[in-house]
Symmetry: C2
Subunit: 179 residues, 2 copies
């Protein structure tokens, strides 16, 4: 139904080739890219102002707060917080300086490091959570109907599933889509 033969260009206004984006697809894509470029800044601004945290830092602390013993291995935490291990390591170093997190060597396997949420860290998440939830509500959820929220959730999950399976398209695949 979306693929009704209407073809629109994403990119230069000429050169419309075989399987370009349909009108619906283009519309969706433009919305997504604006979202990717605008939403993180807006959410970071609220968190930074009210709790001194970035979105990623919040994701880290929040992930720890809902885990057993408030403790998670670094590599697992990176997955939970949707970031690279390297990024996580840097962030945990900063959080450690602020006494929000502690690192301990994993008692079972000395190669692994466990990140532990401190009491201070817990308090900060508990304090920050309502404001953050309100921002998410205001910026993301409130503009949508219940049906749209549900649908957005499902679409997002689909995309993330695909992303985790295959994070970057192969070079060969990028010049003509598989179809």
């Amino acid at each position: 139904m979306a693929d009704d033969g209407v073809s629109a260009c994403y990119g230069p206004a000429s050169d419309c080739e075989p399987r370009w984006l349909s009108a619906d697809e283009l519309e969706a894509w433009k919305a997504v890219i604006s979202l990717l470029l605008l939403l993180p800044g807006a959410l970071d601004a609220q968190l930074q102002r009210d709790a001194g945290l970035s979105m990623f830092e919040y994701a880290v602390l929040s992930s720890l707060s809902i885990s057993d013993d408030r403790t998670v291995r670094m590599s697992e935490l990176a997955e939970l917080a949707s970031g690279s291990l390297s990024r996580l390591s840097n962030v945990v170093t900063r959080l450690e300086r602020r006494s929000l997190v502690r690192r301990i060597p994993d008692p079972v396997d000395g190669r692994c490091t466990d990140a532990v949420l401190t009491d201070q860290g817990w308090d900060l998440v508990v304090q920050a959570a309502p404001g953050h939830a309100a921002a998410v509500r205001q910026l993301v959820l409130d503009p949508l109907t219940d049906a749209q929220v549900h649908s957005l959730g499902e679409a997002g999950e689909q995309i993330v599933r695909q992303l985790r399976r295959c994070p970057a398209p192969r070079a060969e695949a990028t010049h003509l889509q598989p179809d």
Copy 2:
């Protein structure tokens, strides 16, 4: 329909307060935050590898390529590319060094600066567009049904509309949502 009284915590596992996120809302939000943290990296990786561009740089060049005379005032271009003027200015400086864009003072109002896409810049966008479209297709569109694509587009537009109206929630509004 989503707000059926089921209450789930986003944040610490205790402290479930009055108007927290419903199960559906929580699900949607987790998907969105993962998207915000994972998708830019994946798209940047493809663009960087195949064209030496970031997603934002691509948005800038692409916006210029579909504009009259391939020319847009900086402040307008910032809007089109969904970035701040400051960020745009830095990026245009880099693009100028690579001869992909030129700056000229606006002939009408000397305070304004016009960004102009060079022939080289045009060629690069034309060359990069198919690969980028394929990546968007593979990572974002293909995992979805046509109906999901359509719905995602509408939801995204709603959220972006809200974002442009009110980029950051007020401090007062963040501790209890307006409802």
